[in-house]
Structures are given as C-alpha cells and as structure tokens.
C-alpha cells in the first residue's frame, strides 16, 4: 500500500511539473492550427497527432490539464469556504438557524448534483468567451458542491459547541468571533482540509462530464472535459486509439488523488 501511495505522489508531482512546464514541453500553442495537416497521426512533430482543426493534441492535453488542475482546487477552496460558512453558522447558532440551513443543505443534496449542474450550465449562454466560460463552469461547481461538506462541518461544529472546553470558554466570557476564531476554527481545520482535498477530484470529474456533454469550457481553450468531446466521434475511435489518452490521463490523475485520499472519509 505504501508503494502505491509513493507511485500516486510521483504521478501527481509529474503532473504538476508537466502543467507548469507546458509552454516548454508543448510543440505549439493550444490554439495554433497546422492547416496543412488536420487529423494527422502521431509523429515526431505532433506526438499525439492533430485534431480536426489541425491543432496539436499533445499541446492541448498539456494546457487542458493546466486549466482543469488549476481551477478545480480553486473551486474546491470556494466550496470549502461556503461549506464552512453555512455548516459553521448552522452548528454555532443551532435552533431555527440550524433547521433553515439544514433545509437548504437538504435541498442541494436532494436534487442530483449533476442534474442541477447540467440545468444551470445549460441555461447559461453558449456564446461566452473561453475565459468567461471556464470561470463560470468552475464557479458553478464551487457554488453547487458545498452541501455535502456543509453537513459534515455542521455536525463537527455542533459537537464542538457541546464540548467541555467550549462551555468553559463561554463561561469565561468568550463569545462571537473570538470563540469562533480561537476554538471552533482551529478544531474544524482538519475537517475543512479533508473536504477541500475530497472536492478536487470530484470537481475535475464534474467538469469532465460537463465538457463531454459540450457544456464545459468554450473553444479554443482546452480542458480535460473538452478534450473528451473527441470521444464522441466514435467512428474514428478504433483506428485512432490515441484519442483515448486524455481519458487515460484523467483516470490516472484522479486515481492518484483517490489513493492519497483513501484514509479520508469517502464522500457518498
């Protein structure tokens, strides 16, 4: 098991290096077209061939990984902050505030997440700029993915509020922000960090799903999801197995995350 964890760390480190050095490793920019060689097979110039528009697939894969793997942690950070706020407020105040927050949490948990995401993304315009689409996509992931984490944080905050040291702190005159800053936040840090790490692979997968359905990042900006759209041309999949590489990369990267998160609580 230790060996597998080492491999997972190595894979993630290699991925991080690759996306940081994308500019040097890619033979061209992600949007540069080689019009004389569209749909080219892998060669020394184009290690993964070119797509229908003559863009280098290897370059698009590198920049796509950069987009997905940079923005997913940002979305995870956003969702963790939201979960911390809602869950923390519910656990801290209790009573009707907790009931209202829990109703909101239940609302978000009841409607299947992907259904909500597809609906919300589908009602947004498709003709937005690539930068806006990538921001909207990941902001939506962050905005809609907080509920499960909020439930965990709420339960943790509630337990803390009942603990002896918090009672003692309150008896000593601690209240409001001071109590939150000195007693709640430091003790909830572990749960918040766990939720942050758990959210990253979930968001990468969610973006990939949206991208494969054509609702992810707009062209010409690549992401792991938008690269999966090439799979839709299933007729040409058999003679061109290298089109499966983005999916393979995605599975390897997410599996590495999962191996490292194995000891964390499995989000169901």
């Amino acid at each position: 098991m230790k060996g597998i964890r080492v491999i997972a760390i190595a894979v993630l480190a290699l991925t991080a290096f690759t996306i940081l050095a994308a500019r040097h490793l890619a033979p061209a920019g992600y949007e540069q077209q080689f019009r004389e060689s569209p749909q080219a097979a892998p060669s020394a110039h184009h290690p993964l061939g070119t797509d229908d528009l003559g863009r280098d697939r290897w370059a698009r894969l590198l920049y796509g990984m950069r987009v997905s793997l940079t923005l997913a942690p940002l979305a995870a950070l956003f969702t963790t902050v939201l979960a911390g706020l809602v869950g923390g407020i519910a656990g801290y105040f209790g009573g009707w505030t907790e009931r209202c927050c829990k109703l909101l949490i239940d609302l978000f948990l009841s409607v299947p997440w992907l259904f909500l995401l597809i609906t919300v993304r589908a009602v947004l315009p498709l003709n937005v700029s690539p930068e806006a689409s990538v921001t909207v996509t990941f902001a939506l992931l962050g905005l809609l993915g907080w509920a499960a984490s909020a439930r965990v944080i709420c339960s943790g905050a509630k337990d803390l509020m009942k603990s002896e040291f918090v009672w003692m702190a309150r008896a000593s005159g601690f209240s409001g922000l001071k109590l939150v800053r000195l007693h709640l936040l430091p003790n909830l840090r572990g749960a918040l960090l766990a939720q942050f790490w758990i959210s990253i692979p979930v968001f990468i997968i969610a973006e990939a799903n949206l991208g494969a359905l054509g609702l992810g990042v707009a062209e010409p900006l690549p992401s792991l999801g938008s690269l999966l759209r090439e799979l839709q041309e299933a007729v040409t999949l058999r003679p061109e197995p290298w089109r499966l590489l983005p999916l393979g990369v995605l599975i390897v990267v997410i599996s590495s995350f999962q191996v490292l998160l194995k000891k964390q609580e499995v989000r169901i």
Binding site: L107, S110, V111, F115, T119, V123, N209, Q232, L250
Partner: protein, 287 residues
Amino acid sequence: MLRFCGWAALRVAAIMLLASFTGAMLMRIAPGFSSDDQELNSGLSAQSIQAIRQAHLSDANIPRFYAQYLASLVRGDLGTSRSLNQPVKDLLRERLPVTLVNLAFALAVGWLLGFSLAVAAQVWNVRILTFLGNALSGTFISTPAAALALIFLLLRWPPAFAAALLLFPKIYRYTQNLLEQSSEMPHVLTARAKGAGPWRVLAWHVAPIALPQLIALLGVSISIGIGVLLPIEVVSDVAGIGQLAWHAAQSRDLPLLVNLTMVVTFVTVCATLISDAAQRGLTRSAA
C-alpha cells in the same frame, strides 16, 4: 410515528417546491427564454407567431406561472410541453419506467458487485482480492459518466451497465470502510480471539453494527444512481428522464423542466427519508 410521517411529508413537499421554483427561476433568467424556433417558420401565419409569443409571455412571470402550475397540479394536470407539444403526463408515463428499470438494474448490479467484493475481501482477507477491488473501484470512480457512456456506446454494451459500474466504487469503498471499522471494535476482536470463524463474526458481530449505515447508503445510492444515469441517457440516447431533462433545459421548456425537477426531487428525497427512517429504527432496536 404519525408525527414523523407528517414532518417527513412536509419536508418532501417543501424541498420539492423549493427545487422546482429554483429551476423555474433559473430557466426564466436564461438567455433565449422568450424566443422560440417556431417563430422562424415562414409557413406560420402572423397570428400563429403572435400566439407563440403570447404563450411565452404568459410563462415570463414566474410567480404567476408557478401559482397556475400548482393549481393545475392539484387537479392532476401537469401541463403541456412547449417544445414537444405533448402533455407532460404522457411524456412522464413513457419515459419514467425506462429510467426506473435502468436505475433498478444499475443498483442491483452495482450493489451485487460492490457489496460482494467488499465482503469477500473482508472475510477471506486475500491481498489479490483487495487489490482487485481497489483497482476496479479506483478506475471507475475516476471515470466521468459521460466518457464511460461513450465507450459503452462504441462497444454496444447496455448503458445501464455503465451506470452500475459507476455506482460500484461508491458502494464498494463505503462498505469496505464500514466493515473495516466495525471489525476493529473490541467485541469483534474478542469474538475472533475466542475462535469464531470469519463468517460467524461477520454475521453475528459486524453486520448488526454496519446494517443501519448500509441502509443509509442504499438511500444515497439511489440519488447517486439518478445523477449518474442522466448524462448516460443523454450520451447513449436512451429515451428516459435524463434525456428529457436535457431536452427541457436546452429548449427552455419551462413546464417540462419544473415537472422533471419535481419528479427527480421526489424520488431522491423519498429514498433518503425511507432509508433514514429504517436506519433510525434499526439503531433504536439495536440499542
């Protein structure tokens, strides 16, 4: 019991209303809501085009649309789909069984695979079995539903099996964690030290502790199953609720989307509530 049922019904109703109202509001603010492809049809008369515009305008006021929708819902009328020009009730009658059959298949196969592999790994404690379970679950938990659906489409395998494979890792990992945690409890260790066999330990000492949480997982897996089936139905062109929801969102079909949100929310909230109640009952009887 009566009080619990009353609260549960109230909760289901509140969540359904809130979810469908939010869906309607999102649809209203979406670009292209007030336009219709049919307006470009040169074969239609000016009066027909005017009538189409009027129909869209009547939906523009969401609170009024929602009040009218609820009033007709009480009478059993779910309205008419604007894009498909068919009563929503008929559409649901056609599509819902398809999704439910696929969901039942996915749940049955996902649970069979996940649960049996987790139990086998726990009982026999063979390294290769654990490795196989972890490798398979790691692969499928890392695969986007839409991508797996595309691969299944290419291989001409049933789409419901793709949903089952995506459900399997959640069930396997959670069951494995649960069984591992339960097996480390003092009374289980004592039973093992006294010579009880692995199956006996599992049936008499581990299962009673794990059962309430497994029932909760069953409820949650229904919700996950629906979420997984939606993109699979879209990609595989399965005539179910997922494909209909996709169509409703793309064509800004407000009556259809509101009803679908209601149905999906109803199924998931009921599944969660029933499993919660069963879990609570089992925990209480065990105590």
